[in-house]
């Protein structure tokens, strides 16, 4: 169940909106931030809050790249899968990440720190090849830069709650 603390502002926003359905992405993100990912329970909760059916939430949740329907690591690395990044070294970035983290796309490192998800163009063509980690853009990427970013994130962050 959701805490009152989380629920109240959401319910307030819903009450103020003529068409609560408009808020569905915001609500999914809020619940995702709370649970770490959009769990089955969170889908039900979102449906209840917005007077939608779980199926209607699921249709949207599985459509969007940034809504995670499965547990993910503390840091989700969205590697840009756009044309400009392809031209500027997307393959080598991806391969370096695979090698360094020992995981494939869609997987999470055993320590629960990192998940790799290739993503449609993120719009940082000026930084290509680029990636987004928990909402922050990095680029232009080189293997060395990637090592530095990942090492820093790993050392600065507290250990993940849900190590896998």
């Amino acid at each position: 169940m959701l805490s009152e603390e989380l629920l109240e502002p959401l319910q307030k926003r819903i009450a103020e909106t003529d068409h609560p359905r408009e808020l569905v992405v915001d609500i999914m993100l809020a619940l995702q931030n709370h649970h770490g990912y959009l769990s089955d329970q969170a889908v039900e909760e979102a449906a209840r809050l917005l007077d939608m059916t779980p199926l209607e939430i699921e249709e949207l949740a599985t459509f969007y790249d940034f809504i995670y329907r499965e547990p993910v690591g503390r840091f989700v690395i969205h590697v840009c899968d756009g044309v400009v990044c392809w031209m500027n070294g997307y393959d080598s970035v991806l391969n370096h990440l695979f090698k360094k983290l020992g995981i494939k796309p869609g997987e999470t490192t055993e320590d629960g720190f990192f998940t790799i998800l290739p993503t449609a163009c993120i719009g940082y063509c000026d930084l290509s090849p680029a990636m987004l980690i928990n909402g922050r853009a990095y680029g232009p990427l080189t293997p060395e830069k990637i090592d530095g970013i990942l090492d820093r994130l790993r050392s600065e962050a507290p250990p993940p709650r849900m190590a896998r």
Binding site: V43, M52, T53, P54, L55, E56, E58, E59, T62
Partner: protein
């Protein structure tokens, strides 16, 4: 209107018509997967590509996404377009499994047809195919997602067209998955339509799996008789067994779709306990022998007790032929006319509705889709006549305002205004809306009677919250261009059909155009009301038996035990009879008690006609010749290796033919002899009932003939001065019991379907929160409800979408609801207990 040329043929179409539709009108069927005439275009599959050679659009384009425009020259056979379509089919086949030989869709699969037609015979793609896990979608629909070609028809029908919200499109791009959030029975009572419209085998008909290929079946056009709407269906039968029903297109009635009650209700015809042999008491005899015995008995009674000593009950589920022949039989014999209705009240209501419907006011179901304001009074469409809810939804999608005045917790798959008022308040609530929207001058123009109706009808509804909501509704009604009134006949008062008709007349006077649509209880209620003249009731018959004036009872496709309030009393009356003769195709209770039983044919075994609730005379052909299904005779093994000339279990005959044979034996010399020809019967009908004179007796199936009694003779506005003010019936000490229908579990024939039995919900009693809190009752508690003839026990459901002062219960198969002697039923509040 744009004029264009397709494959050298010229055609003019309305603005907004898509090229694919314009071509279809010329008889050119452009390949399509995602386009469906009932759902419109979406442009998902790309297989309807054609070449635009001249005009505003050039090159290869999608014909379903392009509006027909002046000067277009279109080629569907152009080499480039054909090559494009061929490649589309090839890429759609990339992920499609090569399982046609074991797929239940094989043989009537659009994808299969177009793959062959498109010339894609050799697979070039050798890679792995995308695969999915399938879901359990319930009793009716089998899921096989690997076959999906992402046409979106299922989701578009399920959510957009029908308004249900538990099946949709999940994932994205080439992972797109059509299904539910989790496994489970599809919630929509229209779910079976996704089987019909899926262009391949993602959704197949579960009950008929593995029963045969399309070409194995005897297929034919027929009618659905599980409510009064008369939707069109296609039957499939094999091995003496009705196997499957599909929707048949009808321009005026159901469009492209049907409901699940109609689709899966037909299993009564295959019922393993269906009586298939004639019986004298418990001994099976030949039909002729039974007729002979019956004739002797009847002659005895007639001689000893006179012609009035035999009573007849018919039913509203019987076809026109059976109903008419029973009346003809009784008239020739000098008997009392048969009774077709459960209660005199019901007979009166239906007869008033039938009397008031005329050619100008009556609207078809498809016309309802075009209304911009729908006012439903005493109607619960999803439960009483499901397809009506879909027609109303199409009006809603075209921005119509929809208002339902009904005490029950009405659910509709779209937004609507529900005014939950008690049955006594339906009329004042309706007239208050009409008076709010129609100026007095409109009534004045219609004459004295109209003005009296207008002036005396209550203008205000006393209940404040409802009154306030009515302000906004009347505003909308005032602006409407095409209002339609829908009026039920089950829970309303006797006068309500008249008030609805008069309201429609006033609306028409004020708005220039208005429609009227009645709902009735059974498939041929309209026919029964047209044909029958007596207004006797089952109760009268029972009383006559008890008094001893009636010695014989003949039931023609009627089971009074289904609705008679006092089971014991009816049984005792039946036991007293010298002759209890039953003709039916159902394993009914009455059939079991019969002294003489005659097996009759179902709709699927005979050529018949029914009159739907708007007076439309519709015809059905026989689907197969009847007999005991081979699966039941052989118990799964090989059919018996014996030769015989007849059809095992095929003795059943149309009830009207049995009646004719019986009449010809008992008739005194010199009396009219009955022919076994349907045409002869119809000429009798046309002679006795001139309104049927225009009905053609033809081999093709006309469905555009409507029979309406009202031809200017009917007295209009008869209820002027008689409509009481609303809110008067509110007594705090009693609750009025309203009996409703449920989509599954209440309609007689479909309750015999083993598949529908699986999706029936447990019967329960609905109560408003206000009444429940006064009684201290909680949601989902077991309660007992005292009725005239005993108590009923069931679950209580507290819902805030119903009228206070009323309790609502379904006429459910699993509930002995018949224990009611007198309508309306008022239950003292304190008597409803835990």
């Amino acid at each position: 209107m744009p004029k264009l040329k397709i494959d050298g043929l010229e055609i003019e179409v309305e603005r907004g018509t898509k090229v694919i539709e314009a071509a279809a009108r010329l008889g050119i069927i452009i390949p399509r997967f995602c386009f469906h005439p009932g759902l419109g275009p979406v442009g998902a599959c790309r297989v309807c590509a054609v070449k635009f050679e001249e005009g505003p659009v050039k090159g290869v384009q999608m014909s379903c996404m392009t509006d027909a425009q002046d000067g277009m020259v279109v080629s569907t056979t152009d080499e480039e377009a054909a090559d494009f379509r061929k490649h589309v089919i090839e890429w759609l086949m990339m992920n499609h499994p090569h399982d046609c030989p074991v797929c239940d869709e094989g043989g009537h699969c659009l994808l299969q047809d177009l793959t062959v037609a498109g010339g894609h015979g050799i697979r070039r793609y050798l890679g792995k195919k995308r695969t999915y896990n399938d879901q359990y979608l319930g009793v009716f629909v089998q899921h096989e997602m690997n076959r999906c070609i992402q046409c979106w028809r299922c989701r578009r029908f399920y959510q957009e067209f029908a308004g249900y919200r538990d099946l949709g499109a999940l994932q994205i791009a080439h992972h797109t998955y059509f299904g539910r959030a989790t496994d489970g029975q599809l919630e929509s009572p229209f779910s079976g339509n996704i089987i019909d419209i899926c262009p391949t085998g993602v959704y197949t008909d579960k009950p008929s799996r593995f029963t045969g290929r399309r070409w194995d079946f005897e297929r034919g056009p027929s009618l659905c008789i599980h409510c009064s709407l008369g939707c069109h269906i296609i039957t499939s039968a094999r091995y003496r067994e009705m196997t499957r029903l599909e929707a048949r297109f009808s321009e005026s009635v159901n469009g492209y779709f049907i409901c699940d009650r109609g689709r899966y209700g037909f299993y009564y015809t295959n019922h393993p306990e269906r009586p298939r042999r004639a019986r004298i008491r418990t001994e099976e005899v030949s039909l002729d022998q039974a007729i002979q015995t019956a004739a002797q008995k009847i002659i005895q009674i007639n001689q000893k007790n006179g012609p009035k000593a035999i009573a007849c009950l018919g039913s509203a589920r019987s076809c026109v032929e059976n109903q008419a022949m029973l009346i003809r039989f009784c008239r020739v014999q000098g008997w009392n006319e048969p009774t077709y209705f459960e209660t005199p009240t019901m007979a009166k209501k239906v007869k008033r509705a039938v009397a008031r419907l005329d050619e100008q006011l009556a609207v078809s179901m498809r016309e309802i889709e075009k209304a911009d304001f729908i006012l439903a009074v005493g109607a619960d469409p999803v439960n009483e006549a499901p397809m009506l809810a879909l027609a109303m939804r199409q009006a809603f999608r075209n921005e119509a305002t929809i208002v339902v005045i009904d005490p029950r917790p009405v659910f509709l798959p779209f937004e609507f205004e529900h005014l939950p008022v008690a049955p006594d308040d339906l009329e004042p609530c309706l007239t208050a809306l009409i008076k709010g929207a129609v100026h007095r001058s409109a009534a004045e123009k219609m004459g004295e009677e109209a003005l009296r109706f207008y002036d005396t009808a209550p203008a205000e509804y006393p209940d404040a919250p409802i009154k306030n909501r009515m302000v906004k509704i009347t505003q909308k009604l005032r602006q409407s261009r095409y209002p339609v009134i829908i009026c039920g006949t089950s829970i309303v008062r006797e006068t309500t059909p008249d008030v609805a008709a008069d309201s429609a007349l006033l609306l028409r006077a004020a708005r220039g155009r208005a429609g009227l649509f009645y709902l009735m209880s059974e498939a041929n209620t309209f026919g029964a009301a047209l044909l029958s003249s007596e207004e006797g009731s089952v109760m009268d018959v029972v009383e006559s038996i008890e008094k001893g004036s009636v010695k014989g009872l003949m039931l023609v496709e009627s089971d009074p035990f289904r609705s008679f309030p006092d089971y014991e009393r009816l049984k005792q009356a039946v036991d007293k009879l010298d002759l209890f003769l039953v003709m039916d195709y159902l394993p009914s209770f009455a059939a079991r008690l019969a002294h003489l039983f005659f097996p009759t044919q179902t709709l699927f075994e005979m050529e018949t006609s029914f009159v739907n609730q708007e007076g439309r005379v519709q015809f059905a052909t026989s689907a197969y010749r009847g007999g005991i299904p081979i699966s039941q005779i052989s118990a799964g093994g090989h059919p018996l290796r014996v030769f015989r000339r007849d059809i095992p279990g095929g003795e059943s005959q149309p009830a009207w033919q049995i009646l004719a044979k019986l009449a010809n034996i008992i008739s005194l010399p010199g009396r009219e002899m009955f022919s076994l020809s349907k045409n002869e019967l119809w000429s009798w009908i046309a002679k006795e009932y001139p309104i049927f004179a225009n009905v053609p007796i033809a081999d093709e199936l006309p469905d555009d003939v409507r029979v309406h009694l009202a031809q200017g003779r009917e007295k209009l506005f008869p209820s002027g001065g008689q409509i009481r003010s609303g809110g008067l019936s509110r007594e705090n000490s009693t609750l009025e019991l309203v009996m409703g229908d449920w989509t599954f579990g209440t309609e007689e024939l479909s309750t015999y379907s083993k598949y529908l039995q699986q999706v029936e919900k447990e019967p329960c009693l609905f109560m408003s929160p206000k009444d429940a809190s006064m009684l201290g009752l909680k949601d989902r508690e077991r309660i007992t409800l005292p009725l005239d003839k005993g108590r009923l026990e069931m679950e209580l459901r507290i819902v805030d979408t119903m009228a206070p002062g009323v309790i609502v219960m379904p006429k459910h198969r699993q509930l002995a609801w018949q224990k009611i002697e007198k309508w309306p039923v008022k239950v003292a509040m304190g008597q409803i207990r835990k």
